[in-house]
């Protein structure tokens, strides 16, 4: 049996985590050096209502189109959307108590202790969450203090008070230190939210899911297989995917695109009918650029964990989806070389040439969708813009457009970055929800999702990675065939 694979649904979540920013990899090291930084960081964090009303966040959850963001003047953190709410067309934002509550209900090893007040708040904020809510229990503050004083681990805060504690699971295993478990539990909890919302939005039941593919970047496992473990089944267990198994795909930031291609291949080959690709938030990256934000007098904007989930199955099986053109998947092979030209030729041009298409036959490109307002203060520039300019230059080299048309190409086929700097999250895939909506409306025929991964960060190779795929509106796909 073979089917045309499609992305049938998409779901995104942002979990406000101001009191976890201090445990981001960068803040924790810097605060260790200069403890006075903690107060400065906390003083520059945004309250919940500002996070909700922040235009890029509204784009991430689907209440604003990327095109609308382009017309909102910067700085976006000052030009907030007054009427904004936390529920979006294909995503939502949750409060910090809800995040702690999700972590608590995901905790199968009694790692996390929270106080009763936080548990109550969490329960109230998760009133519409369907799974394991009875597990959100708290202890009285005296008991929490005792746990915190007598165990190895990390104090957790809310509203300026000690409100929780996560313990180290093994005193001689760095892979099970509280800081690592916090990263893993945060990733699991936020992925659970995205998958739960995905299933709710779908006509399928949790039991219909056959396979789960986690593409998050967290290193799950103990000291004998650090990073070799999997989160997929751990997430599926919480949301009731009782008929699914799963595995994780690791490929730095490009993992989501690898995972979606693999999921499509599983569906096309008939190995599995319904596959969920999921990715939880990156706690290590919270506050990553806080130094630049403080120096520039802007809010510390890396204050949310982001997560996402996608349902891949046979085209048309769960309403209107968008077809995954597996025949046009792009890859950056080892032998291609790492020059930008080589990368874009293999990732973007080669699949198009194979299909007899030109670069202007793609209505929208989704590249690294990092929010420039987060990256620019640190001198890292506007990453999506650089990527779109490079694509436009590629079209010029191929004589598809003239030099004078580059700005037009970027404006028409690109979009401003709107995703939080959460590693694998921004890599092209934040656009999939918007693409799905646009295709359902009939205003988009074909989009290309392009992701790159910095393999060299692990010090095992100097190579970069890249993968791409094309999605099409089913009617458009039929015309082209």
């Amino acid at each position: 049996m073979s089917s045309t694979p499609a992305i049938l649904n998409a779901s995104y979540a942002l979990a406000h985590a101001p009191d976890l920013v201090r445990y981001g990899s960068k803040p924790v090291r810097e605060i260790g050096r200069d403890p006075s930084l903690l107060a400065r960081i906390n003083g520059s964090l945004r309250p919940w209502d500002e996070v909700v009303a922040y235009p890029p966040n509204q784009v991430f959850i689907g209440n604003l189109a990327p095109e609308d963001l382009a017309s909102i003047p910067r700085p976006w953190y000052e030009n907030r959307i007054g009427s904004a709410g936390p529920a979006g067309a294909f995503g939502r934002m949750v409060t910090q108590p809800a995040l702690y509550g999700l972590m608590k209900l995901c905790d199968d090893f009694d790692l996390l202790t929270i106080d009763g007040e936080l548990a109550e708040h969490a329960g109230a904020d998760l009133v519409d969450f369907d799974h394991r809510r009875d597990r959100i229990t708290g202890v009285d503050p005296a008991e929490l203090r005792t746990v915190a004083e007598e165990s190895d681990g990390l104090d957790l805060f809310h509203d300026g008070r000690l409100a929780g504690f996560i313990r180290t699971a093994h005193d001689q295993d760095e892979s099970l230190a509280a800081s690592v478990l916090l990263e893993n539990l945060a990733s699991k909890a936020t992925a659970v939210l995205a998958v739960s919302d995905l299933l709710r939005r779908s006509r399928l039941e949790a039991g219909d899911i056959d396979y789960l593919l986690n593409c998050g970047e967290e290193a799950v496992g103990d000291r004998y297989q650090r990073g070799g473990g999997s989160l997929s089944k751990a997430v599926g267990e919480v949301v009731g995917c009782l008929n699914a198994t799963g595995s994780d795909i690791k490929a730095f930031c490009s993992a989501p695109v690898h995972a979606l291609v693999a999921a499509g291949a599983m569906v096309a080959a008939g190995v599995h009918k319904y596959v969920v690709v999921l990715g939880g938030g990156s706690q290590a990256k919270l506050g990553m650029k806080f130094g630049a934000h403080l120096r520039n007098g802007v809010p510390v904007m890396e204050d949310c964990l982001a997560s996402m989930a996608f349902l891949v199955g046979p085209s048309g099986a769960d309403g209107d989806g968008m077809e995954l053109r597996l025949d046009l998947a792009g890859k950056h092979p080892i032998g291609a070389g790492s020059s930008p030209k080589a990368v874009y030729e293999s990732l973007v041009v080669e699949p198009l040439v194979r299909a007899g298409l030109s670069m202007t036959d793609i209505d929208k490109y989704a590249v690294e969708m990092h929010n420039p307002e987060i990256t620019e203060p640190g001198g890292s520039g506007d990453v999506p813009r650089v990527n779109y300019r490079t694509l436009a230059a590629m079209a010029v080299l191929r004589r598809e457009i003239g030099r004078g048309d580059m700005d037009g190409f970027v404006a028409e086929r690109g979009m401003p970055g709107f995703a939080p700097t959460q590693g694998h999250i921004p890599a092209g895939v934040p656009y999939l929800g918007h693409a799905l909506e646009s295709m359902r409306r009939g205003s988009l025929d074909r989009a290309m999702i392009v992701a790159k991964g910095s393999l060299f960060l692990g010090r095992m190779t100097q190579l970069v990675d890249g993968v791409s795929f094309i999605v099409e509106r089913p009617a458009a796909a039929r015309r082209q065939r």
Partner: protein, 42 residues
């Protein structure tokens, strides 16, 4: 600046020209690349 015979520190970027690319280029100009790195900001 004549690169020939110079010791070059190459600081590249993933979204621009990478460290290994800068190394190749500098060597083609006769430089001795003593350090090269690719920065990734995201």
């Amino acid at each position: 600046m004549d690169l020939n015979g110079r010791r070059v520190v190459a600081i590249g970027e993933r979204e621009g020209v990478t460290g290994p690319s800068l190394k190749l280029l500098a060597e083609s100009a006769g430089a001795d690349v003593v350090f090269s790195v690719t920065q990734c900001f995201v």
